[in-house]
Every structure is written in structure tokens, then in C-alpha cells.
Symmetry: C2
Subunit: 381 residues, 2 copies
């Protein structure tokens, strides 16, 4: 943490391997959500890096992505070392990705605090984000603590996993800034059905799992050894080759052998089974205006000031709306004319035109599946 | 009529001065509906000419248009003489346009039968069209007859004028082909309200006025002299200059003095006031699959085989429809993906995107008015 002069060293790991089908046709396999400028001039991964830089040296930043995206990410993040951009030969979910960075970093700096950050979420309140992450880094540096961030839920969302909170152990810092409270974690809960999500929301001690985790390199290495033993020899082999001329070949040969498993399931859920007092898992509040922009509808919500706004996104040539409200339109460079239509999502690219509704926009993946599997149109995915 | 060897000579006059706002953003002032290929490879005015050519020499074809469209029409109709393409300096509705051609033609051939044809309608049954027009030309050549074509109404449409039919006088030919019945005309009725349109439809003796008229040049000149006296000196002056180097200047100076009035109102309604036995106005059935393609919705209906069809118009790159029906989309070259949407009209051009519904598509003119008068975007109209 060079910003406050403390001795703690912090390595953000940005996970950027998502395929981004939800923002089709703007997002493509080779132009996924994280490399798009959906909510500003910067792309989402550029924003992700920028909000971390006050807390970490760029030389400590890592990115895990895939061969569709690695070149554009290297262009968008020119300050990140090429050796720190790991391009997975195949997708194996988050456990191998997180653990590999821990194995590599642990070779030289086992006490480094690693933070796992999705590359495609937005944060409204950057100062608060910095406070919470700084508190999390301190907490993760104590013993073998694992720190997860929990988003205060605002609706009975069935699209996220939930974290069930236990005993409050906070405030863990109170030096004139706003307090960051910590809770022990009781359990991780998978995506619930609607009824269960309602119950979680009412109970008051559940948070959304936003996919941000903090731990020391050696803590995660030890946790993998304990909870995901099969990964150990594979990751040791790949980590040993990192920095050598054989790395790409070894990565390509070994990584596919990894189990396809999320870090939540491989480590967090298994560790939490030890019970809230013994697991060493803590949750800090992600109360910094978090939004995962999971669909065109949530982008509409993020960009509009009201649900009834017509949001004309991108470089537009103007809007005429007659008896039209709640529409989201992306049609760069064009005059958009809306007449007697509501709650539509219309997205135009040079090769495709999507027309759906805000209510159906989370199903855009069905379109992408038809483009891919039905029509075999590799050029459009 | 060179096709059947008769002596009757026939000069089709194609009216092509429409501004085509209903098909915005595809149609523009300088690229109106009549010069678009809305329903096939040929543009609407090319189709209009082609269906007339079996009945008329190209050298007898005339076009009345405006300076936005005259060059593209000359390109699209290369066989029509440049002297026969009259470019109105200002729009003055149909009476001056029709009458001017009659004055010009009457200078050399007062017995020529003139047929007035809108340039932007479609005809499904071309052989039947030819029969009806041939019958109309014969009928118009008798005395001072005026022949109008009446479209058999199929719904209580409030967007057209109606012709009230009187006594049947047909068949006026029955030489092995299908009969073409003629009726005397009782009255012309302006666009009715919904209730009145229902009554017309039930009564059974009303037809839509489709804007196709036949008369000899001298008959129309005489009718103008009788019913629209103020036009006479203006049209005589312009007609006298036709074929001279002064024509453009005289046309530009004189034509704006004409009253802005439709041929229906200036001649047909006034003449019909003489009573059905004395007016000499006859109606022939336009029972040849007439459609004026008056809106995106009627184009959807014309192109689809069912109301529930998704119609992807133009050169498309494919369609994916999931729980989507009754949509009309024009997005040339693009893959169109429809998810959970119905009865929409979406039209994309390089500079504009229109999103409306089939039910509202007749109001597209409201959009064009805002583009023009509100936004002053001359480039988009």
C-alpha cells in the first residue's frame, strides 16, 4: 500500500476472460464487455485498473484473459507488463486462474496480498472503494485470513451468489475516515430461486457475492493444497515455467488438465465448512456503488436518471421521441427516431441489429447461442 | 394503342412529385418512395413505366416531378425523353400538373388520350391492369368522357377519397378476355371519417379513388377552361414556351401563380355536380391488385404472406427470431436478431434509425416534421 506509506504490498489480479455474450452484438468473443467503453470514455478494464492504481504499483498488476482478448488488453493497459498478462489456452473458470497467479507470485513474494477483481464491473464511489480495499488488504495480511466483498442487496436478485454473514468483528479502521465494518462469513450460498432470494433480502444478513476477494499468495497456495489438491502439481509446473522461454508451451500443455471450477466452489465454500469462527473468512461491505452491468437493461438503468428515460447511448446524432419512453438505443452516429414504443433495447453494429425489450435483455445469450451453434456464424460471435 | 393495332394513341403521364415522408428514413425529399425499390429489383417508378409500355410508345410517356428528383428519375427512366420530364419549380398539387401536360400535348395532338398514373403504387395483376387501362382508353376516346379508376374497397379506410358509383353501363368490351364493367359516377367523396367509411363499405357502390384518370388532351383543356378558369392563361403561357429555350424561365416564372389544388377538386368534383347522366364521368374497376404502399405497415402486409411473419426487407444477412412475430425490419447487410418483440417497424439507414410499431407507422410524417421544422436538419429530410 504505497499510498499510505504502510509496508503492505498489494497485487491486484484482474480477471478478464469473460466472453461477454450479454452485450451482443456490441460485445464479441474478441471484443468482450471488459474492453468496451460502455459507461464512459475508458473501457471497463481501463476503469478497473485506474481505480486500483492509487493502491498498487502498476508493476504488481496482473491480468488473466484469453487469446481472443490478450492483444487488445495489452493495448488498452500499456503500463501493465506483458509478462503479467496471462492468456489462458482454454477457459477453466476462476479457481485455476486465481490460483495460478498465487503460485507465480508466491515464488518471489509469498506475503504479497492478492486482490481478485472482475474486469467488467462499475464502481460509482471510488474513494469509498479505496477505503474498503485498503481495509481488506490489512485484514487479509493477518494470519491466513481470506477477505470477500459483499454487495448490500437491493432486490431479490436470482442472478448472483449470496454470502451469509455471521458475527460482526469491525470496525477494523476508524482513523477519521468512514468506518469499514467486517463480518465473519457463515456460508456461501449459490444463486437462489426467487423465493429464497426474497428470504435472504428480508433476513438482512445476506450480501451479494460480487467476485472480489483478497488473500496473501501463501494463503491461497495453502488453501489450494488443502481444498483443490488436484490442481497443485499442474499449477506448480506452470508457475515454475513462468518467466522462462518455455512458459507458453508449458501453459498450453498443462492448463487444460485443470478442473473447470470456480474459486467460490473450490476454496471458499469448502473453507467455510469449517464454521464461521474457524474458517478465517471475513466479509467487508462493497458499499461503493457497485454494478456489474449484467445486461442491456442494467446499462439503461446505470445511464438513465429515470426508468422512463430514453437512453441514446454512444456517439449519437440526436433523438426524436414521440410518445416513447424507457427505451435504450445504441446506434452510433445516427439520428434515432422513436414513435410510440416503450422499454425496447435496440443495438446496432456494422454487421448486426438486435431488437429486444429491457425485460428480455438478460436472454441475449440465447441469440448468441443460435448465431454460434445454429448458424455457425463464427464471424458474428 | 399499338399492342392491339387500334388507332387510339395513348400518353401516360406519371406523377412523381411526392415527397415520400411516409417511408422516412429510407425515403428522402431527394430520394422519395417512387425512386426506391421497395418491392422488388426495380424502383416504383420503373415498375410504373414498365407496366404501361405494352400500351404506349415510350416517346409518348411524360413525367411530372420536382427538382429534388428529376435527375434520378431521368437516370432510372433512360428511355423517356428529357423534354418529357417536367420539373415543377414549386409544388402546386395535381390539377396544375395534369392540366399542364394536357395543354402541351393538345398543341400537337388534341385527341391523344392522356392517362394519369401515380408513380408509387403497386399492381399485382399486370394482365388485368392492361385490360382495364385499354378499356379506359377506348372509353375516354368517346366524346368528352372522363374515366376514373375505382379500387374495390376491402376495409373502411379513412385515408383515401371515395367514388360513389351510379348506373352500370358496361361491359364495354367482351372479346374473350375478362369483362371490364363501367359505371357512371354519382359523386366524389373526400376522405371520410370512420363511421362514414363503414357506411360506404356496407353500401357496396363505393370505390377508393386511386388517382388514375384517363381523358383526351382536348377534354381536359376544355374542363380546365370550364372549371378552373384562373389556370388557363398561366398554362397557355407555359405550354407555348415548351420546346423553346425559354421554357425553364417561363415555367419558373409562371407556374408558382397556379392555384394549389388537386385535380379531383378542381375538375372531377365540379364536373360531377352536373349529375351522373350529364357529367360524362365513368368509373372502371381497378381490380388488378392495387396497393398504394402508404406506410411501412402496408409494405409489411405486401411483402409478408401472413400478418405474423417477421419481414426482413432488403439485402439481409439473416434473421434470428426468438418469440418474435409480425415485425418489419430494414437493416441492409446485417444479421437481424429479434427477441421477445412483436409488430415493430425498425428501419436503419446510414444516418438514421426509426423505431416504431406497425400501428403507428402512418404517423412517421410527425417524425419528419420534427426533423425538418424542429431540428432544421435539412440533411435528414
Amino acid at each position: 500500500m504505497h499510498s499510505d506509506g504502510s509496508e503492505l504490498r498489494f497485487a491486484p489480479v484482474i480477471l478478464a476472460g469473460g466472453s461477454g455474450t450479454r452485450f451482443w452484438p456490441r460485445s464479441r468473443r474478441a471484443y468482450a464487455k471488459q474492453v468496451l467503453a460502455l459507461n464512459g470514455d475508458q473501457t471497463m478494464i481501463q476503469q478497473t485498473l485506474e481505480r486500483l492504481l492509487p493502491m498498487a504499483d502498476t508493476s504488481n498488476v496482473w491480468v488473466v484473459t484469453n487469446h481472443w482478448l490478450d492483444k487488445i488488453i495489452a493495448e488498452q493497459l500499456p503500463t501493465v507488463s506483458a509478462k503479467h498478462i496471462l492468456s489462458e489456452p482454454v477457459a477453466r473458470n476462476t479457481a485455476p486462474a486465481c490460483a495460478l497467479t498465487a503460485y507465480i507470485i508466491a515464488k518471489t513474494d509469498p506475503e504479497m496480498i492478492i486482490g481478485i477483481f472482475p474486469s467488467d464491473h462499475v464502481v460509482a464511489n471510488i474513494p469509498r472503494f479505496s477505503e474498503v480495499i485498503a481495509a481488506g488488504v490489512k485484514l487479509a495480511a493477518q494470519g491466513e485470513n481470506i477477505v470477500v466483498l459483499g454487495v448490500p442487496p437491493t432486490r431479490p436478485e436470482t442472478g448472483y451468489g449470496y454470502i451469509e454473514l455471521g458475527e460482526a468483528v469491525g470496525p477494523n479502521e476508524n482513523d477519521g475516515k468512514e468506518t469499514v465494518k467486517a463480518f465473519r462469513v457463515k456460508r456461501f450460498r449459490e444463486k437462489p430461486d426467487g423465493h429464497t432470494a426474497e428470504r435472504f433480502l428480508m433476513a438482512g444478513n445476506f450480501a451479494w457475492n460480487g467476485g472480489i476477494f483478497l488473500w496473501s499468495a501463501q494463503t491461497l497456495v495453502a488453501a489450494i493444497r488443502e481444498h483443490a489438491t488436484d490442481l497443485v502439481p499442474i499449477l506448480e509446473t506452470i508457475a515454475a515455467a513462468h518467466g522462462t522461454k518455455d512458459f507458453e508451451r508449458v501453459f498450453a500443455d498443462e492448463y487444460p488438465k485443470c478442473e473447470n471450477i470456480s474459486i467460490d466452489y473450490a476454496v471458499l465454500e469448502r473453507r467455510s465448512a469449517k464454521g464461521e469462527q474457524r474458517s478465517g473468512i471475513y466479509c467487508l461491505p462493497a458499499d461503493f456503488g457497485w454494478n456489474d452491468l449484467g445486461s442491456w437493461a442494467s446499462l439503461h438503468e446505470h445511464l438513465g436518471t429515470s426508468d422512463k428515460d430514453n437512453v441514446i447511448d454512444g456517439p449519437t446524432d440526436g433523438l426524436i421521441g414521440i410518445e416513447a419512453e424507457g427505451n435504450y438505443v445504441y446506434a452510433p452516429g445516427k439520428m434515432v427516431a422513436l414513435l410510440g414504443v416503450s422499454d425496447l433495447v435496440v443495438v446496432e453494429t456494422p454487421d448486426a441489429l438486435l431488437i429486444t425489450t429491457r425485460g428480455r435483455s438478460q436472454d441475449v445469450g440465447k441469440i448468441v447461442r443460435q448465431v454460434h451453434e445454429g448458424l455457425k456464424r463464427e464471424d458474428l460471435i
